[in-house]
């Protein structure tokens, strides 16, 4: 049994029109045994950045602590909030520091980055467990249901979705993918980041 699949769980992030979405399931398991249906693996970093850490649950907690520490230090030194692109590179280098004894997580980052003109541009990225970055223009997936997420997202996603349409697309993508994955599921949470608010919803999903 792979360490990456020990605890289960999946995350997906998608780009919309002036908004981004990030969604996750809520299962924490030990192989086939379900431990918790309230496990959080997507966290807010700033008002404009959310990130998800599917993978080994102990490393989810450890990396969350590390990222919080490093981003706090950045904020204090720079006297400004970190940009999503910068955070993606911070994630990448943090993981690559442990190239030959890695943390077993595949982070997904979703945020709105500042443009020179003062506007906000949607940003998503994902890395593998040693920090190889993937800046996608459409959507990124990770976790035990990643293959299923790729299939559904490729079929449902379209460019320039408005926040409510993006919410529907990302929710349907996640729920239908995790329903075909034994290691993911047990509830879903979705975050939609727009220029003036973050919409967080818990979905009524299959609990088996």
């Amino acid at each position: 049994m792979s360490i990456m699949q020990l605890n289960g769980g999946s995350v997906v992030a998608m780009v919309g029109k002036d908004c981004v979405g990030i969604a996750t399931d809520m299962r924490l398991g030990n192989q086939a045994l379900g431990i918790s249906s309230e496990f959080q693996r997507v966290f807010p970093l700033t008002d404009r950045i959310y990130y998800g850490l599917p993978g080994l649950a102990t490393d989810v907690a450890t990396l969350r602590e590390r990222f919080r520490y490093r981003v706090n230090m950045y904020t204090i030194k720079e006297e400004r909030e970190i940009e999503p692109e910068t955070f993606a590179h911070l994630v990448s280098s943090t993981l690559y520091e442990h190239r030959f004894g890695p943390y077993f997580v595949e982070p997904v980052i979703a945020g709105l980055s500042k443009t020179p003109s003062g506007g906000l541009k949607p940003f998503i990225a994902a890395t593998d467990l040693i920090g190889c970055l993937n800046f996608a223009k459409d959507f990124v997936v990770a976790g035990t249901a990643s293959e299923k997420l790729f299939g559904v997202a490729e079929g449902l996603w379209e460019p320039d979705l408005e926040p409510e349409d993006l919410f529907e697309t990302i929710s349907q993508t996640l729920m239908n993918a995790v329903d075909r994955d034994a290691y993911s599921g047990w509830g879903c949470t979705v975050h939609i980041l727009t220029k003036d608010q973050v919409i967080t919803r818990t979905l009524k999903a299959r609990m088996d």
């Binding site: 431990i35 649950a57 102990t58 907690a61 450890t62 004894g101």
Partner: protein, 194 residues
């Protein structure tokens, strides 16, 4: 084989652990207390590799106590859980890691809420309404899903716990004989007979 259960109720947490200390196929002791009282409102049931368990539990116990003495206030259940998790996560990537699984039940006197944490030897931490470790978990978690009431009285909580222990005794081949049961609430820790 080792079993431990815990559940929250309206304003309490019940923690139960079997009392056998086994080496291979031999029972060495049948009245071992595997639930430590870490602070006035905090209980920790531990199980896992013999030797590691007591050593780790005492290390945690002394450090939590040290914090209490130094700061004159006990560490809150959630802060204790985070610290213990970190100790296990660091140990996991050391030369010889502890293999200890924990259930941490406490009463948060600041929030006036019962708290329960499921922690495994990897340093996986999860706050849960009920939890179990060992082979007993395969029976207990299903029973908790059906019977657990987060607003239940102590009597109701003990009845649910009794269901778990009875089912494990009935259906698990390697079921332990006796359990120690402790309750933590706003008045502190107490042991009960079941």
């Amino acid at each position: 084989m080792e079993c431990s259960f815990a559940l929250t109720g309206k304003d309490y947490v019940i923690v139960a652990a079997d009392t056998t200390a086994a080496r291979s196929i031999v029972k060495m002791k049948i009245d071992e207390d595997k639930i430590k009282e870490l602070s006035p409102h905090l209980l920790m049931a531990y199980s896992g590799e013999p030797g590691d368990t007591v050593n780790f539990a005492e290390y945690i116990e002394r450090n939590i106590r040290l914090h209490h003495i130094r700061h004159l206030v006990p560490l809150s259940p959630s802060a204790s859980a985070a610290w213990i998790r970190r100790a296990l996560a660091q140990s996991l990537r050391s030369r010889n890691p502890y293999s200890v699984n924990l259930l941490l039940g406490g009463y948060d006197t600041a929030e006036d809420k019962p708290k329960l944490f499921w922690i495994d030897y990897l340093g996986t931490l999860s706050e849960v309404p009920f939890a179990a470790h060992g082979y007993g978990s395969y029976f207990a978690l299903s029973l908790f899903d059906r019977y657990h009431n987060p607003e239940g009285t102590v009597e109701e909580g003990l009845a649910t716990l009794k269901r778990c222990i009875d089912q494990v005794s009935k259906r698990l081949v390697v079921a332990p004989g006796k359990y120690k049961v402790k309750i933590v609430d706003k008045d502190g820790v107490r042991e009960v007979e079941i």
